[in-house]
Amino acid sequence: MAESGTISVPTAARRRRVTLRIPPISVLLLLIIVLMCVFAPLVTPFGPNDVDPAHPFAAASGQHWLGTDELGRDLLTRLLYGGRLSLTVCAGSVVIAFLIGTIWGVSAAERRGFVEEILMRTADVTMAIPQILFALVCVAAFGASLLSLTVITGLLLAPTSARMARSVTIQETSLDYYSAGIAYGAGKIRLLTREVFPNILPALASQAVINAASAMILEASLSFVGLGVQPPQMSWGVLLQQGYGFLYNDPTYAVAPAVLILVTVFCLNLAANRLGSTRHRKVVRP
């Protein structure tokens, strides 16, 4: 300890460089999960709906790493295929929230006054609506499909993105480089897209990753209460719900999807934290 104290300056400098170069564990874990889901057919020899009635609730073995479900289907295979859907909803809704939220927030920041009030109070009202209730109404109206689930989740997350976009845009446009841009005759759209947007992107990206975590939980909750995709389609939330029914026969069935959701959300939050701290760091003036 005493030794490390004497050389604390160089090690601190080196450590910071290393953490910037090697992707953090959270990102690596996310990458592994995503790749395994995407390339599921290569990872597992089973199909997600291959039934084997002779071996229901099989315990974990070399053949079935996480055992089988009530119809003898391989649980790991179903998790990987279910992950495809969960991750698609997650990614799609994040993109929707990013696009709508950015336009929403930047417009509010640019049109201070009446328009801003309307836009931001709308955001407040939207955020005050209970998410599950909103989703319930939407599913009742548009049906439960992959598309509707993605759009509903995206809409629910858009106001948080809008708030973030508005505050960072106001911060940027109050700087003199923006005023100078207006003074040399650049249009507002040009300044916002070319000068301001690259500067607010790290903050927006960090918010998007946080949104991804929320989307994951939201999708799982909706599926768990039966508002998500309907069997035979599956997602982690759907598998969790099915496993819940057999909690005392076969705990792995419910615990496995729960752990996957937990790990993914945890890693997303860690990644967002990292993105916020290294990229969105305030520039220290020399």
Binding site: D176, S179, A180, G181, Y184, G185, A186, P198, V283, R285
Partner: protein, 328 residues
Amino acid sequence: MPEAALLSVKDLVKVFPSREGKELRAVDGVSIDVRRGSTFGLVGESGSGKSTLSRCILRLLRPDAGTVSFDGQDMASMSAARVRRLRSRIQVVFQDPHGSLNRSKAVSDIVGAPLAAHRSGNRAARSARVAELLDLVQLPAAMAARKPRELSGGQAQRVAIARALALNPDFVVLDEAVSALDVSVRAQILNLLRELQGELGLTYLFISHDLGVVRYISQDIAVMYRGRIIEVGPREQLFAAPQHPYTRLLLDAVPIADPSRQRARMRLLGEQTGASDRPDLPDDAGCRFRSRCPVGADRERCATEDPRLEPHAAGGTLAACHYAGEIS
């Protein structure tokens, strides 16, 4: 003034709503004329409205009353497209050298941005122009690839000047352009600005709270106090025979490099400087400087009548003071 002014501001008013429903008249009926090819210095303490005035001239703010005419054309009555074209002739350099440069862009992009915004020339022509501009502000060509955070304050301000010159403007507003710089760097930038003015025939509006700096670079000087111009005139007359008590206080606040003379003057000033501790009075009919005024604080006329900016017998400047003759 005999020559036609390049920029002429008439009775400009800019009011900001403040809390408690009151109004803040940041600029309250200001008129200035800036002669072509000259430097017009604008001094005043912080909050006197000088930056608001410059932002109205740059059309970053819309004035509530009064006119700004540039080269004989009234900007208020202009269409948006014509204002945009006119913008290429009026440029600005701000105080904070780092805030006025986009931190994520390279110097070459920053200097070339006005050219790109006006779609002037192709990429090659633009980069040639950027090299020319960097040379003009005496920055090495290697700076073109740097990011703003890798520049010193003086270098960053040179980049801001290069950007301001990109569109060949006639008129440059220098809003506290050297105030954030070290004294030695400040002198370099001031000399650079002078050289550029000679080379390119520029007209400057030079805004500063530092009378010494304004004196160095300006031919005409206006002193602002709480949204009004209280004295304006040619540099020599203003410094030789200041008419307004506030101008006198400002001049006396500039230290003299000779300690014995400085001490002698401080003895004379002792009583007057104390006056600045008195609080500002609310706006009323009287002179707005009288709460701090060593001359007219207790005079009847100063409390009831707002002085107009007018010539006085004793000096060559216009001053807004009833007793301007008595103080010099």
